[in-house]
């Protein structure tokens, strides 16, 4: 019974191969999109390791000696005073193949060591190693570049290329340069506050910016995108399953009449669906892998641009994303198929397919959808006021679903409006016919709306991001060079040298506000017109910068303003300075910390020993200045930041982001176009009885075909147009709600109507392509086929 029942159920697909294809391809495509995004994310995250390591190696807080070399004894003295620090010597060595950067660390205390070991490290053979015989650690590529060397070596893929790490004992063998220490890394678990007396040490805070944030934002958006694409795919599956159940009602009734228990029937249907899901999921995973492989170079370039570090372009076949992809397919199929399964369960044995009742059902469905949709929008309104990232995402979901459910109702209203206003006859029939189709077409149209909205939303977001960011970089980094000053005693000669070379300079004094609950950096600036003219601001009191230079107030970054709700006109309490007036708030993208700008004199009042940390240099005629500075002051490569390079890098980041989002855009639209195609094909049988009378009244099949295309185009156009505001709403949520919640800064939203037009046109194109096979069939249909419709009517 079970076997024959299963065979009977499956026989349907032989007669309806398109439906089969629709389910499998729909599921496969949505799984593919989702898993492609997952694969990209997983691979990119894996490649963070290197950048994170770079941060851990070079970004930690450190102690440096101020006016004499840092001695090993200083290290021991600090340790014996309870300071948890770890010694580091940095320099270059020649291991036989040219100079290479060497970082010598204490293998017993450096925070990086657990990562260096790696998981594949054999846990010793029972004897402790001699530290002087421990290996040098480097990236495999670096080791390859070193060529054959006699030292024991261990590959550490997490290390940046071009860097060799070794224990200090090993380093002493490699080079004679290791006499003193370069600096001491301050370990995290440190509760000491005062240096032992007589130690001329300076605590240098690690870099305050974290490029990881921008990348996280990027991943967040990719994931949201993947999820939306997946939902669009599910719409196809749901509509197809529904259709398949509908068309098999007769067969199911027969099976039931032959004595198959209801539970067996439902189980068989569920098993069939599950098999389809696994099959489609597997296809989707393979597809996803290829899509990811295609997109990954772009993503990698994006990330490497953000990090300034090379990211290997190898796609990792990580089982975790494959597993989540398959799980998503199964869960998605369950969601999409559950209502149909319930339908099968409730199937009355004797009732025939009641096509006439369908409009009633549509009404009921519409009422129910209207209710759900209003409920969702109400929830969205509440979510808007919950300051939590999860609420932000829920808000996005509620908005999209609520809006999309409203779509058929809205479209019906529009159509009824036109229906009552056009001349009776053909025109009125076209509108009425379109409206009649809405019920059946609503699901694929919703999918299309989602796709259009997602596209517009994400594109608006990335474009706004690009515009804001590039403008910001152009304004904020308007000088040609940014020179980091290594030590305090380097500052004055550097300024003098620049002055001699008649370069225009803007020195920047920096100190950290120790008393603040959140890391807060103070900047002391000199009085130049640059700030008033160029510094990008979000809000500012009149003559803000002039007042700042006179010491009458401070400017704060957006992160501080938002976190403490202090804006222009409020005042902020600062140690030794008392209440300072906030003169304005400026955007500070990608910085997780708070920042306060004040005049140099004000900074010196708070922190008398604030150090000169940065000099912005306008090169003027002397284009060789960068090279000269490097040579004269022996500055390391990272000490000078070239503005052109910075801008080119960030532009490249965005261009790569666009490649990725554009591809995903086309794919999502493609998926929804496919949904339309399957719906049109599935509707073919139902369409004929509706078209035959019109043909009988004298309309040529050619005209019918044209009308079919127009109808499809009209539906798609209407849907896409209605989806545009949803897309903008989505972009607003992404920019103003989730981004603010996630990163503490808000991105201004810019409107790009040409991109809306492009998306709407693309959606229309998808609709035209989707209805083309039906229109072609209609164009070529024999009169006999149309006549048969009447012969079937009783």
């Amino acid at each position: 019974m079970i076997r024959w029942g299963m065979l009977a159920l499956l026989s349907h697909w032989r007669r309806a191969p398109v439906q089969f294809l629709a389910i499998v391809l729909g599921l496969a495509l949505s799984t593919a999109l989702w898993s492609a995004v997952q694969a990209i994310n997983a691979t990119a995250r894996a490649s963070y390791g290197e950048a994170q390591t770079r941060l851990a190696l070079f970004g930690a807080d450190r102690l440096m000696a101020t006016d004499r070399p840092l001695l090993v004894d200083d290290y021991a003295t600090l340790r014996r005073a309870g300071w948890l620090v770890s010694p580091v010597w940095e320099g270059t060595v020649d291991l036989g193949n040219g100079p290479i950067q060497l970082m010598a660390i204490d293998l017993l205390s450096h925070p990086m060591v657990p990562q260096l070991q790696g998981a594949d490290q054999p846990v010793s053979n029972g004897t402790a190693p001699l530290l002087v015989e421990t290996p040098i650690f480097a990236h495999p590529d670096t080791l390859a570049d070193l060529g054959p060397i006699t030292y024991p070596q261990q590959s550490a893929p997490i290390l940046p290329r071009g860097l060799v790490i070794a224990d200090l004992a090993v380093a002493e063998v490699l080079t004679e340069g290791v006499r003193n220490l370069s600096h001491l890394v301050v370990l995290e678990a440190n509760n000491q506050t005062a240096f032992p007396q007589d130690l001329p040490l300076e605590w240098v805070k690690g870099p305050n910016t974290s490029p990881g944030e921008l990348t996280e934002s990027f991943h967040l958006n990719l994931t949201a995108f993947g999820l939306l694409a997946f939902v669009v795919g599910l719409f196809i599956v749901q509509s197809t399953i529904k259709l398949a159940v509908e068309q098999r009602r007769g067969m199911m009734r027969t099976l039931r009449c032959l004595g198959m228990p209801l539970s067996t029937l439902v189980t068989l249907c569920a098993a069939e669906l599950l098999t389809l899901a696994v099959l489609a999921g597997a296809i989707g995973l393979c597809l996803g892998y290829f899509i990811a492989g295609f997109l990954l170079p772009g993503v990698n370039a994006t990330l490497s641009g953000l990090y300034g570090a090379k990211v290997p372009g190898q796609l990792n076949m990580d089982p975790s994303w494959a597993a989540t992809g398959l799980a998503m397919t199964l869960v998605g199929t369950t969601i999409a198929g559950s209502s149909s399964m319930i339908q099968v369960y409730r199937l009355p044995i004797l009732q025939s397919t009641a096509a006439s009742a369908r409009s009633l059902v549509t009404h009921r469905v519409n009422r129910r959808n209207l209710f759900i949709s209003l409920l969702l929008l109400a929830i969205a309104l509440i979510l808007l006021f919950i300051p939590h990232l999860l609420a932000g995402f829920a808000l996005m979901g509620a908005l999209m679903l609520g809006f999309v459910l409203l779509l058929p109702i809205g479209a019906a209203l529009v159509m009824r409006f036109f229906e009552t206003r056009v001349r009776p006859g053909m025109a009125q029939w076209i509108w009425a016919d379109m409206r009649a189709q809405l019920g059946v077409m609503s699901v694929p149209l919703m999918a299309l709306a989602l796709a259009v909205a997602t596209n517009i939303g994400v594109e608006t977001m990335t474009s706004s991001f690009r515009l804001t960011f590039v403008n910001w970089i152009n304004q904020r980094f308007s000088a040609d060079l940014y020179v980091s000053v290594g030590t305090a005693d380097q500052a004055q000669p550097l300024l003098a040298y620049l002055d001699q070379n008649s370069a225009e300079t803007r020195p920047l004094w920096v100190s950290d506000l120790e008393s603040a609950a959140h890391p807060t950096r103070l900047w002391g600036v000199v009085d130049t017109p640059y700030y008033a003219e160029r510094w990008p601001m979000l809000s500012e009191t009149p003559d803000g910068w002039a007042k700042l230079h006179q010491g009458e107030g401070v400017m704060v970054n957006e992160q501080l303003s938002r976190a403490r709700n202090l804006w222009a006109g409020d005042s902020i309490s600062l140690p030794k300075l008392g209440d300072a007036m906030i003169l304005g708030t400026y955007p500070d993208y990608g910085n997780p910390n708070h920042q306060i700008i004040m005049s140099r004199d004000a900074l010196f009042q708070i922190v008398p020993d604030a150090v000169l940390r940065n000099v912005a240099v306008v090169m003027g005629a002397n284009q060789e200045l960068q090279t000269e500075l490097r040579q004269v002051f022996d500055l390391p490569g990272t000490a000078i930041l070239d503005q052109n390079q910075l801008r080119a890098q960030s532009l490249q980041v965005f261009d790569q982001t666009f490649t990725v989002t554009a591809t995903l855009n086309v794919l999502t639209l493609g998926v929804s176009g496919f949904a339309l195609l399957t719906s049109f094909t599935a509707l073919w049988g139902q369409r004929l009885p509706q078209l035959a009378p019109v043909w009988a009244m004298g309309l040529a099949t050619r005209q019918l075909a044209v009308l079919e295309v127009l109808r499809s185009l009209g539906l798609a156009l209407l849907t896409a147009l209605l989806a545009v505001p949803l897309g903008l709403l989505l972009a607003w949520v992404l920019l103003s709600v989730t981004n603010t919640l996630a990163f503490g800064w808000k991105l201004p939203m810019f409107l790009f109507p040409d991109s809306w037009l492009r998306t709407v046109l693309l959606a229309s194109l998808a609709a035209v392509i989707a209805c083309a096979p039906t229109a072609w069939r209609l164009y070529r249909i024999s009169p006999a086929a149309l006549l048969k419709v009447f012969s079937n009517e009783r």
């Binding site: 004894d73 340790r79 017993l108 290791v178």
Partner: protein
């Protein structure tokens, strides 16, 4: 955390991997130029308070039983281990000597542990003879002079610390035969002496609050190049102070060829009487540790020659040292023919 990982990597002295070489690698053959203890050469002071780089392993080990004004029990442990890869010391990063330290503060309910690791040669850890000082980072045991008569002892962890003054009220005790302590039938031995007569005052801070305490402490000094036989996998070591002023140090060394027991009886005057091999007997009575169910937390200890028939019970059964090599170490209560307090150390058990 990283210290722990590292030490595991560097020394791999975990009991599981060390079955053929005794607990914590202590059964490793001397060789490679390392010295072995010589029964004809007794320890000489003060120089033997200092380190012996040409021996593979060495420790400065203090345990103390303390009480606060309310009579609440505390136990502290302060241990500095030296472990050498080569039998020499250098002045610099290439030192082949490792220094490892453990500190613990135990109450009947809590057991707080910390660990430190350093190399020799750079001054971060070490021991100096005159004045006596043993240290690693800011943990230290300082003497006023070259003797061990008055010591200042301090250590701290993430959430505990202690700072104690130790004053000796009796002479040093040479364990075994004149400080030559045999550890197996096949003759493995170590140099071993103790100062079991410390009176203690000071402050312990189990949770940030400083609690004044008083009590007694016991210092052990031991060094060797292969103190254990290769087949020996762990030991149970007792240091007990009885209320009548006598003291007992006894240990069981468990191995493939059975149990080897030895010890020292110390009378009221501080005179030491080495026990014949096998005279000291101890049997586990109860296993009540939440850490692992193979850890004996109550023992029946007998020394018939001295009329000792006692029950030794852990004050905190969960005094597990979850350090790079892990073991049980904590204060104990003595009842039976004698009553008193002391410390128990058990290795080769646990998860």
């Amino acid at each position: 955390m990283s210290v722990r990982l590292l030490f595991a990597m560097l020394l791999a002295l975990l009991p599981g991997s060390g079955f053929a070489q005794g607990y914590a690698g202590l059964g490793q053959k001397a060789g490679d130029g390392f010295q072995n203890p010589d029964p004809t050469l007794a320890p000489a002071f003060p120089q033997d308070h200092g380190p012996h780089p040409d021996f593979r392993i060495e420790w400065w080990y203090v345990t103390a039983n303390l009480q606060d004004a309310d009579g609440q029990d505390y136990g502290i442990q302060w241990t500095l281990f030296r472990s050498a890869v080569r039998p020499y010391e250098t002045d610099g990063w290439d030192s082949p000597q490792y220094w490892l330290a453990h500190a613990a503060l135990t109450t009947p309910e809590t057991h707080q542990v910390a660990e430190k690791l350093s190399r020799g040669g750079i001054g971060q850890a070490g021991v100096s003879v005159d004045p006596f000082a043993a240290w690693i980072d800011d943990w230290h045991m300082h003497g006023a002079d070259a003797s061990l008569d008055a010591l200042q002892l301090s250590a701290n962890g993430d959430d505990f610390s202690y700072d104690l003054q130790l004053t000796a009220t009796g002479p040093l005790v040479l364990q075994g035969e004149n400080g030559y302590s045999v550890k197996s039938q096949s003759g493995q031995a170590s140099y071993y002496y103790s100062q079991p007569h410390f009176e203690v005052t000071g402050v312990v801070s189990p949770d940030g609050s400083a609690i004044p305490v008083t009590g007694q402490a016991w210092l052990d000094r031991e060094w060797s190049s292969q103190p254990l036989d290769e087949g020996q996998s762990g030991w149970d070591w007792f240091s007990l102070r009885f209320e009548d002023g006598t003291k007992l140090m006894g240990f069981l060394l468990r191995g493939t060829s059975g149990v080897y027991s030895s010890g020292t009886w110390i009378d009221q005057t501080g005179q030491a009487f080495p026990l014949p091999v096998g005279a000291f007997a101890a049997k586990p009575l109860r296993f009540e540790s939440a850490v692992s169910d193979d850890i004996p937390t109550t023992w029946h200890v007998k020394l018939p020659d001295r009329g000792v028939d006692i029950q030794v019970t852990a004050i905190n059964p969960n005094a597990w040292m979850a350090t790079s090599f892990s073991y049980w170490e904590g204060p104990v209560q003595v009842t039976g023919s004698h009553s008193g307090k002391g410390y128990l150390e058990m290795t080769g058990y646990g998860p």
